[in-house]
C-alpha cells in the first residue's frame, strides 16, 4: 500500500505574510497529499493568523491538497475553547490535540494528533469509535509499538512524526516571556523572533532543547528515514513533516523520493543534511531509545 505525506501544523509564531507565502508555495509545489493549518501552541497568536487561513485553505484546495484544521493543544481561556468548538463544527477534517475538542466533534471524523495520549490499542479503538480516522501517536512511541497498535486497528490510518523538531512538552508558563522578564499576559510576542524556536543549550554548550512560547521542542531535528517496506511492515500509512524555515518543498521531495523507492534512506539522510536545518538529525524514539540519539536506522 502507498504511504502518503502530511504537512503538520506550524508550531511557530510566523507573521501573517510569512504564513501566506509559505502555504502558497506548499500549495503550488510540495508533493504532499494533506496539509494541516491552524494555531496549535498558543491561543494568543490566533488573532494574527486567523485572517490568513481562509485564503490559504482555498489556495491549498485548489492545489489538490486535503486540508485539516488543527486545534489548540492546550485551550484554556473561553475564547480559545470557543475557537476549538468552531473548528470542530467546520466541514473540514479536524485534528484534535486535546480532549476538550472530543465532545464538540460528536462522533464526526478527526485526526488524533500527537498531543493526545494514544499509547495502546484499547485507547486507539475507543477514539476510533468516536470518529478518529487518522492517528498520529505521541512522538516518544517506538515504531514497533505504533505497528502493534495499528495491527489492532486495521481500518485506521497511522501516521508517524517523521521530520522536524520534536514537540516534547507544553506548559502553563510561557518560556519566551520568562526569558525576557515579561508576564505571559503582556508577552509582547517575543516568540516571533525565533521562527524555528530558540535553542536551549546545556551549560557546556551542547544544543539540547528549543523553546517556543509555552512549548518546548527538541533542538535536534527528527528524521524518520525508513524504506517503504519497513514502514509498511509497521502498517504506517502517513509520514508527517513539521514546518520549519528550511526549504520544506525540498524536504517533501526528499521524502517523496524515499517513499517511491527512488532514494535509499542513507541518500535521503545526506540530502536532508544538505539543507539549512535548525539542528542535527535524530531518530532514537523510533527504536525505543532516547529521542536525542542520532539517526541510525539505515
Amino acid at each position: 500500500m502507498s504511504i502518503a505525506l502530511t504537512l503538520g501544523p506550524t508550531f511557530f509564531h510566523w507573521p501573517p505574510d510569512r504564513l501566506r507565502d509559505f502555504y502558497y508555495r506548499i500549495a503550488d509545489e510540495a508533493p504532499v497529499e494533506r496539509v494541516h493549518v491552524g494555531e496549535v501552541v498558543c491561543g494568543k497568536r490566533m488573532p494574527f493568523s486567523d485572517p490568513v487561513w481562509p485564503e490559504v485553505i482555498e489556495r491549498l484546495e485548489r492545489g489538490g491538497k486535503e486540508v485539516v484544521l488543527s486545534t489548540l493543544a492546550m485551550p484554556a481561556l473561553s475564547r480559545e475553547r470557543r475557537a476549538v468548538e468552531e473548528f470542530c463544527a467546520d466541514g473540514h477534517l479536524v485534528e484534535i490535540n486535546d480532549v476538550t475538542a472530543l465532545p464538540a466533534r460528536a462522533g464526526g471524523p478527526f485526526v488524533a494528533g500527537p498531543f493526545l495520549n494514544v499509547y495502546n490499542e484499547a485507547t486507539a479503538q475507543f477514539l476510533i469509535r468516536r470518529g478518529a480516522s487518522t492517528i498520529c501517536p505521541p512522538v516518544e512511541l517506538p515504531l514497533a509499538t505504533i505497528g502493534a497498535i495499528a495491527a489492532a486497528c486495521p481500518d485506521t490510518e497511522f501516521e508517524v512524526f517523521a521530520f522536524g523538531r520534536l514537540p516534547l512538552a507544553l506548559s502553563g508558563r510561557c518560556y519566551h516571556a520568562r526569558l525576557h522578564g515579561l508576564h505571559k499576559d503582556s508577552c509582547q510576542f517575543t516568540c516571533e523572533q525565533d521562527p524555528d524556536g530558540l535553542v536551549v543549550e546545556t551549560l557546556n554548550d551542547q544544543a539540547f532543547l528549543a523553546m517556543n512560547g509555552v512549548q518546548t521542542l527538541s533542538a535536534q531535528v527528527q528524521a524518520v528515514l525508513f524504506s517503504p517496506a519497513d514502514l509498511d511492515a509497521q502498517r504506517i500509512r502517513r509520514l508527517r513533516l513539521s514546518p520549519h524555515t528550511c526549504d520544506m518543498v525540498a524536504v517533501a521531495r526528499i521524502y517523496r523520493a524515499l517513499l517511491a523507492g527512488d532514494l535509499a534512506p542513507v541518500e535521503a539522510l545526506a540530502r536532508l543534511g544538505d539543507l539549512d536545518l535548525p539542528g542535527t538529525l535524530v531518530d532514537g524514539y523510533t527504536r525505543g531509545a532516547a529521542g536525542s540519539q542520532p539517526v541510525a536506522c539505515l
Partner: protein, 333 residues
C-alpha cells in the same frame, strides 16, 4: 460545587509502613500504587504487593481513612493486561477509588467496575469544562485531580462550570510542564512518566567532581552545576540550568517545590474538594511530619481561623529547599 463541605486531605504512601504513618498522622485518604509500571512512581523498593494493598486498605478502613489506588501510567501496546489486572486487584482489595489517566484503564473500570469510584489522574491533564465533561460522561469519573498550571481564580471558574469533585496539589514536587504530556525525560534518557512511570530516572544520573564545581548530568546532558560547598541537587530535567538567547539560568523553573499551604482557604473557596500532598517516593518520617502539619492547617482553615496562624503551622516545613505557590497565585500569567 462542593464548597462548604469539609476538605479531604489526600496523602502519599510508597510503603505499608508509610501508609500506617500517614493514617496515624491524620490523612483522610492515602494514595498508593502496585510495585510495577502501572503507577507513576515506579521506583525500586517502593509500592505495594496485592496482599500489602489488601492489608493497607483494611488498616486504613479500621482507622476511618480511605485508600485510593493509582494506576496512572499508560498501558503498554500489545500488553495491556497488567493494567487491567491492576485495576481488578485494586477493586478486589477494597480500594475506595482508582486513580487513572489512560482511556484504556478508565474504560476498563467503567465497563467492569462501575461501583468503584474513579478519579481522573493529574496525568490526564484535564483542565477545561469540556475535557472534564468528556471524562465524566464517558467513564462516570467522580473526581478530577487538577493540573498544576491553573491559578486559584481559574480553578474557581472551572468548578462553577463542572459537576464533579476536584482535587488540588498543595505540597511536594512541582511539574511545570503539563503533566502526562511531557516527553523531556525520554528525549534525554529513553524513559518517561507515560511510558515507564519515571522522570529523570536515577540510573541516568551521574555526578562529576571538578576542581571548581560538581556537574550533574542526565544521560550525558549537563543539567546543573554546583559551586564547592553548595549542596548538589537532583538533576530533574525541567529544573536544570541552561543557556538561551544570551542568558544563563533556570530557564524553565527554579529548583523549587510546591507549598500552597497559605492557599488552603482560597482553594476551599474556589470549590476544591480535596488537597493532595505529593511524595510517594518519600520516607515515613517525612510523610508523618508533612501530614501532621497539614492536618492541623486544614482543620484550622475549616474552623475559619486566621491565615497567619495557618501559615505559622506550616512554617516548620519550609526549612531546607526553596518553595513556591506555583501557578495558584497567577504569577505565571
Amino acid at each position: 460545587m462542593t464548597a462548604g463541605r469539609r476538605m479531604e486531605l489526600v496523602c502519599p504512601a510508597g510503603t505499608p509502613a508509610t501508609l500506617r504513618a500517614a493514617v496515624a498522622a491524620g490523612a483522610d485518604a492515602v494514595y498508593c500504587g502496585f510495585s510495577d509500571d502501572t503507577n507513576a512512581r515506579n521506583f525500586p523498593g517502593l509500592n505495594f504487593s496485592p496482599q500489602e494493598m489488601a492489608e493497607g486498605v483494611r488498616f486504613a478502613h479500621d482507622h476511618g481513612s480511605k485508600v485510593l489506588v493509582a494506576i496512572n501510567t499508560f498501558a503498554r501496546a500489545g500488553d495491556t493486561d497488567p493494567w487491567r489486572k491492576a485495576a481488578d486487584t485494586a477493586v478486589a482489595c477494597g480500594a475506595d477509588a482508582v486513580i487513572a489517566a489512560d482511556i484504556a484503564v478508565l474504560d476498563h473500570m467503567a465497563q467492569n467496575h462501575p461501583k468503584t469510584r474513579l478519579h481522573l489522574s493529574v496525568q490526564a491533564a484535564a483542565a477545561t469544562p469540556e475535557a472534564i465533561g468528556f471524562y465524566t460522561e464517558a467513564f462516570a469519573v467522580r473526581r478530577v485531580v487538577l493540573p498544576r498550571v491553573l491559578s486559584v481564580q481559574e480553578i474557581a471558574a472551572l468548578n462553577r462550570a463542572i459537576a464533579v469533585e476536584t482535587e488540588a496539589f498543595v505540597f511536594g514536587g512541582l511539574c511545570v510542564m503539563m503533566e502526562g504530556r511531557c516527553h523531556l525525560s525520554s528525549y534525554a534518557t529513553g524513559r518517561s512518566p507515560n511510558l515507564n512511570g519515571v522522570c529523570s530516572p536515577p540510573e541516568a544520573v551521574s555526578y562529576e567532581e571538578g576542581g571548581d564545581a560538581t556537574t550533574a548530568r542526565l544521560s550525558g546532558f549537563t543539567i546543573d552545576r554546583y559551586e564547592p560547598g553548595m549542596p548538589a541537587g537532583y538533576p530533574t530535567l525541567c529544573k536544570g540550568q541552561f543557556k538561551a538567547g544570551g542568558k544563563t539560568g533556570y530557564l524553565f523553573e527554579d529548583p523549587v517545590s510546591l507549598n500552597a499551604g497559605t492557599m488552603i482557604v482560597a482553594l476551599k473557596e474556589a470549590g476544591i474538594t480535596a488537597l493532595k500532598i505529593e511524595g510517594r517516593q518519600r520516607g515515613k518520617g517525612y510523610v508523618s511530619e508533612v501530614v501532621r502539619a497539614f492536618r492541623r492547617a486544614v482543620d484550622a482553615a475549616e474552623q475559619g481561623r486566621d491565615p497567619v496562624e495557618i501559615e505559622g503551622i506550616l512554617a516548620s516545613l519550609s526549612e531546607g529547599g526553596r518553595q513556591t505557590t506555583g501557578a495558584y497565585r497567577k504569577t505565571w500569567r
